[in-house]
Symmetry: C3
Subunit: 349 residues, 3 copies
């Protein structure tokens, strides 16, 4: 992809200063700008870079008064940060704008594939699968029988969706994520072995959800594991059977949510957190990385930390004292000695 300063200025509705014909083919941070790149200056702290950068185009504020001569072509806009975000998204949309059906791919005759889709080579689309308009199914994606994928979805290479699972619109799933694997359910037998409990439910994912690479979401035993609209899951997350993650909740990498737990909407959960099964977490909860949640949280909008988790402030205070524990122990021994002396004094007299 290559753009002229003129093209970018029109796109951003900005004012051009310098050579309108200079071309760029990448975006960069101002401190890393090289020739052929476009960058931006939003934070005045970085203004010094403007006068040294090798970038070909810099997007700056209408208000910025230059204090030295500049080499790159400038594009002046009202809000450089927002304008740069527009360019980022534009760039990404163009880059990922794949269309068409590559061969060899496997599309069962009973499947319904929408308009303007991309189906990569080696993608597998099973019986009765529905793929919505403008969706992208990258190479090595597996969509089991009866899977439904909405419009404008992107399933990157190697995503696996087991039979009967449902994805809404505008869903992005990253490579090697697994949706709909069996829940971990086994009935212990008298001889010490376990019998598998069949997992016949599915996973239902709302709209505008993003799921990270190597994340696993298990199907429900019966019914549905629910990932509500707007949820963002990072990489390597475990979501067990019959879990419900409330709308617009964000979960960082390597966190695990055990079976039948319900996480309230608009919660923010750090990385490597563990949540036990069959509990409810109130909406708006904020849970610090590495916490272990072993009971329901009923108060909405609070911060939690520790394993087992407690009120965030208490936890942080206890952690500080924890480091002084050996010293505290010595103090207690000293107190015991002194009290011993005190109580013995009368006897000695």
């Amino acid at each position: 992809m290559q753009f002229t300063a003129q093209q970018v200025a029109i796109l951003l509705n900005g004012t051009l200063e310098g050579d309108p014909g200079v071309t760029v083919n990448q975006l960069a941070k101002i401190e890393e700008g090289i020739q052929g790149s476009l960058t931006f200056l939003a934070n005045p702290k970085y203004e010094a870079y403007l006068y040294n950068t090798m970038a070909s185009i810099v997007v700056i504020s209408n208000d910025l008064e230059l204090t030295q001569p500049v080499i790159p072509t400038l594009i002046r806009v009202k809000d450089p940060y927002s304008s740069f975000s527009v360019l980022l998204e534009k760039y990404n949309t163009i880059k990922l704008d794949k269309k068409g059906i590559e061969q060899p791919s496997y599309i069962h005759p009973s499947a319904k594939v929408g308009k303007e889709v991309y189906i990569g080579a080696f993608a597998y689309i099973g019986q009765n699968v529905v793929v919505g308009d403008n969706s992208k199914v990258y190479p090595h994606v597996y969509l089991g029988d009866n899977v439904q994928v909405g419009d404008n979805c992107t399933l990157f290479s190697g995503v696996k969706v087991y039979s009967d699972c449902v994805l809404g619109n505008n869903v992005i799933v990253h490579s090697s994520a697994v949706i709909g694997s069996d829940g971990f359910g086994f009935a212990p037998q008298k001889d010490g072995t376990y019998t598998k409990v069949s997992q016949i439910g599915n996973v239902v994912i709302g709209d505008d959800v993003e799921i990270g690479s190597n994340t696993s979401i298990d199907r429900a035993t019966i019914g549905s594991t629910l990932i509500r609209s707007g949820v963002k899951l990072d990489n390597l997350i475990q979501v067990a059977h019959n879990v419900e993650i409330g709308a617009n909740t964000v979960i960082a990498s390597q966190t695990g949510v055990s079976g039948s737990a319900k996480v309230g909407e608009n919660s923010v959960i750090g990385g490597q957190v563990g949540i036990v099964g069959h509990i409810n977490i109130a909406k708006g909860s904020q849970i610090q990385a590495k916490s272990g949640i072993n009971r329901s949280i009923e108060e909405e909008g609070k911060k939690w930390a520790g394993a087992p988790a407690t009120n965030y402030t208490n936890h942080m205070r206890a952690q500080v004292v924890l480091q002084r524990l050996p010293e505290l122990e010595r103090k207690i021994e000293e107190l015991q000695r002194r009290i011993q002396e005190l109580t013995q004094l009368p006897e000695q007299k």
Copy 2:
């Protein structure tokens, strides 16, 4: 799949009350029963649902006396829960009953594939591989050279089995699980770099093992990493080289077992547990989620918790006191002050 009440009654050897021709195509919990679904009532606590459910068929106990009129067709059996489990399994078996070899797939001429197998499109079966009867190899599965897969196994889409690994009978492996990747072995060099230690062993998996999605099991340096019969591993678990997991041991999601550790049979290990290398864990051990096991456990059948782990009861007690640490510290300071006063009293007199 669609069944009549008549067909279900015969399958369960139950007594039918109501319309024998009503049809169902899914199974549901009684509180979620919709038209066209079959559900069951085992727990008397849920009896009220029986009189309101929209389910088409409900399996109930021979002994249940109805106190109100019911709309669905009833099937009376001795033990509704067991009967429902039979249906779950039946449903799952029918749903997953794939057979035949889809194209394009890659089967090396030297490979031996059993009877009644399913080989999905884009599956890769390398040199000298053996796949037993009735086994299912889903799309995008990779079986490296000399891999052996027993009878009645199911390898879901995207499972990767490196060369020379061996799977027993009735083994289920979920999507994107990796069996036989290289153990993490490097010899530090004087210049700060590391030289790879070749990992030429394999992984041997017994019968009736289930392995979750995105789980990694590394091959041994020499010899075999051993997953004994009846073991159930959840998703996103790490099993390092030369580990041995004893028969019928169950491990929850995101736990890691380091190199050459031996976990005894019939143990139950929670999620996000870490087990260091070269230790033994006695059989029947129960390890709480998030624990860190840094030394061998020699007593059988005990409960452990914490990181580093200790006796479960002690750990839970210490955790409770931990939250009171700042308060304890204040008490100690108060004691010091009072003792100071006491010892100064005589002098002041």
Copy 3:
């Protein structure tokens, strides 16, 4: 693969005692040596095995004086352990020596593939991709547009590399590892939803890097996520956007490094560690398994443990006392009681 004792002796430049025609087809530990296997005796502790082993060939030291008759053919060398390592590597090189392009595979006409490569069936090689000489791209590997892979690389089955990422020479990536998935970046909106921040950077991996199975490395928002030369990453590791891992740093399984963190070179990081974003970790740091690093580490070459992490020795001491907390609490209560008595004594008189 099958070798005669004669062939092995020549390879190791060793002296043969016994039948030069005996053949072996595998390597084993001396305590597990079976017929047809080659083993070695380096540690005198294991000498007893030499006189009982069923192995066909044993590599021993020039200096070893036999005290009993031995059955296997012996090959005497200066350093049996080093010689055995040579055989391990030789064995592995031969076993993994795949060449040629299997069909069906997908290689975009614009891609450049080097000499002596292996491209497995169902591998996907996108537009403008470069694959260097002697590299191996196993089945189901995905190389997105513009990806560069150096010479002598091995990408095992199911590795996914997103567009624009760059791998150096001698890089090994294990199955289902994902390189270049989108960083976890979302801008919170006033209505509680999140807007995706486009992630247009890439991942750049140096030479001699090994990456474990099911590990995720996210692409940078802008610029590059950097894995420097000589880094070894175990399985199921999370590396977030814009992270930099310094040269020759080793990270064990299930550890997570958050966005924009920089880990210094020659560090050793245990399993299940969490590192927060936007911090620096000094070179040569050693971090114990399960630690949580929540602030920059400035001193080089130190040991850290705990969550939040602290000096290793302090942490271990505090952990020991932690188990005695309930006892400490009782002691404090006892002290309070005794002081109470002491201060009341005068009054009672």
